[in-house]
Amino acid sequence: MKQDIALQLINVGRSFGATAAVRGISIDIAKGEVISLVGHSGCGKSTLLRIISGVETIDSGRVLLDGHEVDGGCFVEPEMRGVGFVFQDYALFPHLSVRDNILFGLKRHSRAEALANAEDVIRRVGIEHLLERFPHTLSGGEQQRVALARALAPRPGIVLMDEPFSNLDQGLRGQVRTETLSLLKSLNTTVIMVTHDPQEALSTGDRVVLMRSGEIVQVGSGYDLYDRPANAYAADFFCVSNKIPGICRGDRIETPIGNFLRSGEANEGGATTVHIRPQAIAISLDRGEITARVKERVFHGETEHILLAVDGLETPLKAVALDRLPKGAEVVKVSIDSERVLSF
């Protein structure tokens, strides 16, 4: 066992009745690594967090924390695992003050050590002014910070966060996220954060784990997952793309709007699909090989979403333009960045 692995999941599976919540999950997570676990609701990401914390058991496979088996051949109760958990609803104890909430997990420490630990985490999170308050009097952002402080106080080896920012206002979310993650980084804590928001997943985490129907679809850096998605699902998860029908010819795919390099399996002469992200389509009045007609323009401020009708294509192409097209432009030229065309 390597020293620097914080968590190891080996072929982990868990079913509820006939449905498999997670299956065949294997991954190693290094110490100090920040992982964002992303997927649509019901994909098993929250179940996986509960399995790691021990409030859920597994049917098959093994779970190792810090090199010690905690589920599989044996079972270590959640209270013995040293795992911090920040819940989606924060789960602050309503009958305890902020201070007592933070001290709740420090029962095993000596009184002096508990107070020192608590004081340290309170200062780091910046909630000195809230200590005597009760959870129901706190704003969403304050509750989030208290929940974080409470989870960090016992100095857990790994912190699990279940949609920790989803209950915050849009404006506050980005700021709280940045603060939280820089704090966790400074403590060199191993973090697994669950989210359903693709943007949040890409922007946080050393690695992104994409899940679907209880299985891992792809693991890698945000760039990996966005630029080199493992399959159509992964491609569409982060950005909905134009799907253009084509036919395999050698190492290329022929489509009505050009031939592109094939990156998926060979299927000589067979029908296939290429995926073109809206951002890979450049629109101008004069430069480009394809002629298209503007069907619809939706203005978003920084960008403009444009629907383009192209001869030979049944569905119009979606494109995102950074530069503004002149008002009333009807016929435009389109060029496609073939480097960014995906096929599977």
């Binding site: 914390s53 021990g54 209270e79 104890f93 997990g105 029962k107």
Partner: protein, 564 residues
């Protein structure tokens, strides 16, 4: 009665913790304690009667069955009519005194069936003041010339039970009217149906499941009653069990009637369960705004107030006034006898012990279902609550069979090993009464506590566990402080029910121990009216407490309904 509703969390949430196993084992023990008497009863009944089986079938059972069925039908109809009309009255119309009426309609719940029978036997005595005044008004001179129909009859019994048991229908029906009917009544009125017709065409059909639940509960109480029926000369099955056991000392025979009675109970429980499912479906179907009461003219308002007051006057005010004056007269005459004080002590001791046991087991059963949700714990919860519908006499026989067996076993073992006879360890000590009360009221405790726990989000459990607390530590530091109110309410309900309980206490109390309830029974059975009024008043006064609690829950329900 248990209104245990489990809040539907995410259906996939399943708690792992193998440490919860101890709780599951404890829960299984609790369930076993409750189920054992029923099993014992069945075994005893199978033994066959001591030659009296034929007699039982030919003479006792037919009459008992007939009287029971007539009583059930009568009480069912009366409670249905009283419960639904009063519920509609206070939800559909706005008149001065409505708010008062709303909770005062619950008051008859505080009068146990045997106490209302006891009170009215004296109030309506042919040579009592009520009948005397009627004769004076009508110009008759002696009871021989004119008297009201005898209250000691089936009709009298139905009327009296109906007037104290209708709140069982009133409560769920009113709740249904409050939470459900608003939009639908408005819709019906825009479709051209008059406000009065709405009751028949919309509100009542919608409330049918609630009415069914209420009637089922009222009928369970009817079957449980042993005092009223006996005082009024109605030979129900419950009374037959009692006499077969006590006067004929035929335990197998009594067990057989008890088993037959249990079949009726099972049918009632099935009706109640079915109706509850329907009710849940009806209330879950649509989040709806409550019914807005209609203002009525002052004259009509007075009329409605009077109509709504009748059940309260007959079911609570009259007997309570009677008991107060009689108790006062007795107190002026003789003060409080030491006997009565002794009874107070034994009543409270038995009720306290039973409450402690019942709440402890309720905590175990309810927490086990939370720790390890699933088929096993749900089955255990259900098993541990089967006693709520079983009449006290039935439970008493079952408990007697189980504990007598234990006593014999322990006595024999002690004799074999140590040469000492332990005698009747359980039966002699009052443990039997506590046991029977636990079996009967565990449902209230477990149901109330489970409802309280279900309001605590599961994530608090998980937070506590990941912060280093064991399941038991989580229970102490999180669940207990957060469900204090629910536990106290359950404890109060159980305590009061234990004080009111008559049949099981009557059958199982140790020799020479009397409680308020058994004292009252004794005097009423002998036809002597001495200190019982004081005992009865004490029972009614204590029983008002949960009614107040219930009315507060009721108004909370209203404000919630008003918010949505």
């Amino acid at each position: 009665m248990p209104a245990s509703k489990s809040v539907a969390g995410p259906s996939v949430v399943s708690h792992a913790g193998r440490a919860g196993k101890n709780w599951l084992v404890l829960s299984a023990i609790a369930a076993l304690i409750v189920v054992l008497p029923v099993a014992g009863l069945a075994l005893e009944a199978l033994k066959g009667s001591t030659g009296l089986w034929a007699h039982l079938f030919s003479s006792i059972l037919p009459i008992a069955l007939r009287d029971t069925v007539i009583l059930l039908v009568g009480v069912g109809l009366l409670t249905a009519v009283l419960g639904t009309t009063t519920a509609w009255l206070v939800t559909a119309y706005d008149f001065p005194g409505r708010r008062l009426l709303e909770w005062a309609l619950l008051l008859p719940l505080a009068v146990p069936t045997y106490i209302i029978a006891y009170a009215y036997l004296d109030i309506l005595h042919p040579i009592g003041s009520v009948q005397g005044s009627i004769r004076w008004v009508l110009g008759y001179e002696s009871p021989r010339q004119f008297r009201l129909p005898d209250i000691r009859s089936m009709t009298g019994c139905i009327l009296l039970l109906g007037f104290v048991l209708y709140p069982y229908v009133y409560i769920p029906t009113r709740a249904m009217f409050l939470t459900q009917s608003g939009n639908l009544v408005d819709a019906a009125r825009t479709l051209g149906i008059s406000r009065r017709a709405v009751f028949w065409r919309v509100a009542l059909p919608l409330a049918r499941p609630a009415v069914a639940v209420g009637i089922a509960l009222a009928l369970m109480e009817t079957l449980n009653d042993v005092g009223a029926a006996e005082f009024l000369g109605v030979r129900t099955m419950t009374v037959s069990i009692y006499t077969t056991w006590i006067t004929r000392t035929d335990l197998p025979g009594a067990s057989q009637i008890a088993l037959a009675l249990l079949l009726i109970v099972v049918a009632l429980v099935a009706v109640e369960r079915w109706a509850r499912r329907k009710q849940r479906y009806a209330t879950d179907a649509r989040r709806s705004r409550g019914l807005k009461p209609q203002k009525v003219s002052p004259v009509n308002g007075m009329l409605l107030l009077f109509m709504g007051s009748v059940p309260i006057l007959l079911g609570f005010v009259a007997p309570a006034l009677y008991l107060t004056t009689e108790a006062w007269k007795r107190y002026q005459f003789a003060g409080l006898s030491p006997r009565l004080l002794n009874e107070a002590i034994s009543t409270i001791t038995i009720a306290t012990l039973a409450t402690v046991v019942t709440i402890s087991l309720g905590l175990v059963v309810a927490y086990a279902t939370r720790l390890r949700p699933g088929k096993t714990s749900a089955t255990l919860l259900r098993l541990s609550t089967v006693g709520y519908a079983a009449p006290g006499t039935v439970v008493a026989i079952g408990v007697l069979i189980v504990l007598a067996g234990f006593d014999r076993f322990i006595d024999r073992t002690a004799l074999d090993w140590f040469g000492v006879s332990t005698g009747l360890l359980f039966m002699g000590s009052g443990a039997a009464v506590v046991y029977a009360l636990t079996v009967r009221f565990l449902a209230i405790s477990a149901g109330g506590i489970e409802a309280g726990l279900s309001r605590i989000p599961m994530s608090l459990d998980h937070a506590s566990r990941t912060l280093g607390q064991s399941p038991s530590g989580t229970f102490r530091h999180v669940h207990l402080p957060l469900s204090k109110a629910a536990i106290s309410a359950a404890a109060l309900l159980v305590f009061v029910d234990c004080i009111k309980e008559l049949p099981a206490t009557l059958l199982l109390r140790p020799l020479n121990v009397e409680t308020f309830a058994t004292h009252l029974y004794g005097e009423a059975a002998r036809g002597t009216y001495e200190e019982a009024s004081i005992a009865a008043l004490a029972i009614v006064a204590i029983s008002v407490l949960p009614v107040i609690l219930l009315s507060r829950v009721g108004t909370a329900g209203r404000s919630v309904a008003a918010d949505t």
